[in-house]
């Protein structure tokens, strides 16, 4: 005789599973898809030195550079925040997929690391080469109510479905326009 299926909890991992499912399905509707697809925006306002403030909807985040660059180091740098953006998006994807499967997460962290390929290009000391990261490592640590195989599967789904990660991985073109005053 089979066991009775447990009813889905009202709240799981800080989310409402039923609502999440409804939201995901609603994205098939053209008008919803159009809205969630973009445009997504950020406005960077220079403050002083290497410090800027980024405004995204009603949120604001400062960015700066490390003190060794003659900067005020009042906030994390853009290149560190890029790693954080990748990691955060992966985390969101992991939580989404875990919640959709009814898997409770107790703790989760993602540790990211990257090296510049040729930072001399940024410093104006070299004309060629890639000043960007040569590769990014993202390591997941998770404690959840699922076996390792399932958790690895969720991690794969998070990676493959992450808008930020895939923007980086697929080399999204950046069009640099100039607005004259």
């Amino acid at each position: 005789m089979g066991q009775e299926a447990q009813p889905a909890p009202e709240k799981l991992n800080g989310l409402h599973p039923k609502k999440i499912e409804e939201i995901m399905i609603s994205m098939n509707q053209p008008e919803v898809l159009k809205e969630v697809s973009g445009p997504w925006k950020s406005r960077i306002v220079w403050q002083d030195g290497f410090r800027v403030k980024a405004y995204m909807r009603n949120h604001a985040v400062e960015m700066d550079e490390p003190g060794a660059l003659d900067a005020s180091d009042k906030a994390a740098s853009a290149h560190e925040q890029l790693l954080s953006a990748v990691g955060s998006c992966l985390a969101v994807g992991f939580v989404l997929n875990a919640t959709r499967r009814g898997i409770r997460i107790h703790d989760m962290e993602i540790a990211l690391e990257a090296h510049f390929d040729n930072i001399l290009k940024w410093a104006g000391q070299c004309d060629t080469g890639n000043p960007g990261y040569r590769g990014i490592t993202a390591k997941l640590f998770v404690k959840a109510d699922a076996d390792e195989a399932t958790l690895r599967e969720l991690w794969k789904l998070a990676y493959e479905g992450s808008p930020v990660t895939q923007s980086v991985v697929r080399g999204t073109p950046v069009t640099a326009e100039f607005g004259a005053l």
């Binding site: 107790h106 703790d107 989760m108 962290e109 540790a111 690391e113 640590f141 404690k143």
Partner: protein, 397 residues
């Protein structure tokens, strides 16, 4: 103190936790079950760990620390004024997060995996730290009993966090006074219950000597400022001696290893015991419970200068490896030590526990049992060899 046969076999403390116990621990930490409900589950796990130790031939048993989240954070259930906090929660209070990040990277652990009992108010006592463990063991085994407790230096340093603890205690030294009072009361209560061996765990001493690059470590959520290692060791000696002063009739040991949080040997600390031996020898305890089954432990010869001053709890198997050391390998290791150390002062144990941190067992119960069985077989061989040697020596005299 209890009379011993030659080469008594013991464990350092922890035993691997079964999955059902880890589940119960998570539920307890989430507040979903009561302390009493958790204890019922832990009782079963202790009985299993006890049975395996006894079957393997262990002479001095522990309860496998089955009731503990880890070897020192468990005190948060036993004392008022403390809160179990993950390092991920402490990060907002840290002065130098960047430095701590380096430690986490080097250790390859997530911040949420490291929990520390942090003092947030003046400490108050409840029903003892490990009296429940002792009472349960007494009812369920006829073997000698060892109770591991966090050492005074370990507990003080781990629990004091600037920004949180200074509201209750102005300085770590002020906290240490209360910690020592509590430990002394605990020791006397355990002695009254007939404990044979109390082991005070001070693995942080390794971090002081060998972990020169970090001010903060997994073992303590915060070592606030970089202090002189020798000053810190002197403090550890002072606090240890204040803890055990005037208490006799029970065997005291101090356990110092180089870390047991990972199976990756390259992230653990290394270096011989030489730099800390002068200080360890000043501790008024009977036995040094040390690790020697890994090349990271360095040379045995550092003990020649201090031969026979104290008993040695000789680490003869690595708790983190899958390969089972053979009795012959263990006998060979012991013979090297016994070449210059009185055999009557040598106890045999693994380098460390098999599950120092509840959610990171470093081995399975099966492998742990086989390793302990190997030690017990080696002990039997050594007893026969050394008994024969003594008989021959007696006859020739």
């Amino acid at each position: 103190m209890t009379q011993q046969q030659l080469f008594p076999v013991t464990v350092v403390g922890s035993w691997p936790r079964p999955p059902y116990l880890i589940q119960a621990l998570r539920r307890r930490q989430a507040g979903e079950i009561t302390f009493e409900e958790f204890q019922k589950v832990a009782d079963q796990a202790v009985l299993e760990a006890l049975r395996l130790q006894e079957e393997a031939g262990v002479d001095i048993v522990t309860d496998g620390e089955q009731r503990r989240d880890n070897f020192y954070s468990f005190v948060v259930e036993k004392l008022g004024g403390m809160k179990l906090m993950k390092v991920s929660q402490l990060m907002d209070y840290m002065k130098d997060r960047a430095r701590y990040e380096e430690v986490l990277r080097a250790l390859d652990v997530p911040a949420f995996a490291i929990k520390s009992p942090i003092v947030v108010e003046r400490l108050t006592e409840k029903n003892g730290l490990a009296l429940d463990e002792m009472d349960f063991l007494k009812k369920n085994t006829k073997r000698q009993i060892k109770i591991p407790l966090p050492g005074p230096y370990m507990l003080t340093r781990a629990a004091y966090f600037e920004g949180l603890s200074d509201k209750a205690y102005a300085t770590p030294e002020e906290l240490a006074a209360d910690v020592i009072k509590i430990l002394r009361k605990e020791i006397l209560a355990l002695k009254a219950r007939g404990v044979d061996f109390i082991q005070l765990d001070e693995p942080t001493l390794s971090q002081i000597i060998y972990g020169a690059e970090s001010t903060e470590t997994f073992m303590c959520a915060a070592l606030p400022n970089r202090r002189d290692p020798m000053e810190e060791l002197s403090l550890a000696v002072k606090w240890m001696n204040e803890t055990v002063a005037g208490i006799d009739g029970v065997r005291f040991g101090v356990h110092v290893c180089r870390g047991n949080w990972s199976r990756r040997e390259e992230v653990l600390l290394k270096g011989n015991y030489g730099p800390m031996l002068p200080h360890l020898m000043e501790m008024n305890i009977d036995q040094l419970v040390l690790e020697f089954a890994t090349p990271r432990a360095g040379e045995l010869e550092v003990f020649k200068e201090y031969r026979n001053e104290k008993e040695i709890g000789f680490g003869v198997v690595n708790p983190r490896t899958d390969a089972i050391e053979t009795p012959e390998e263990i006998v060979a290791r012991v013979r090297k030590l016994a070449a210059f150390y009185d055999p009557e002062k040598i106890f045999l144990n693994p380098d460390c526990g098999f599950g120092t941190f509840a959610e990171r067992n470093v081995n399975t119960a099966e492998v742990a049992t086989q390793k302990m069985r190997s030690i017990a077989k080696a002990a039997t061989q050594l007893r026969a060899d050394f008994k024969n040697t003594r008989s021959e020596s007696a006859h020739s005299n």
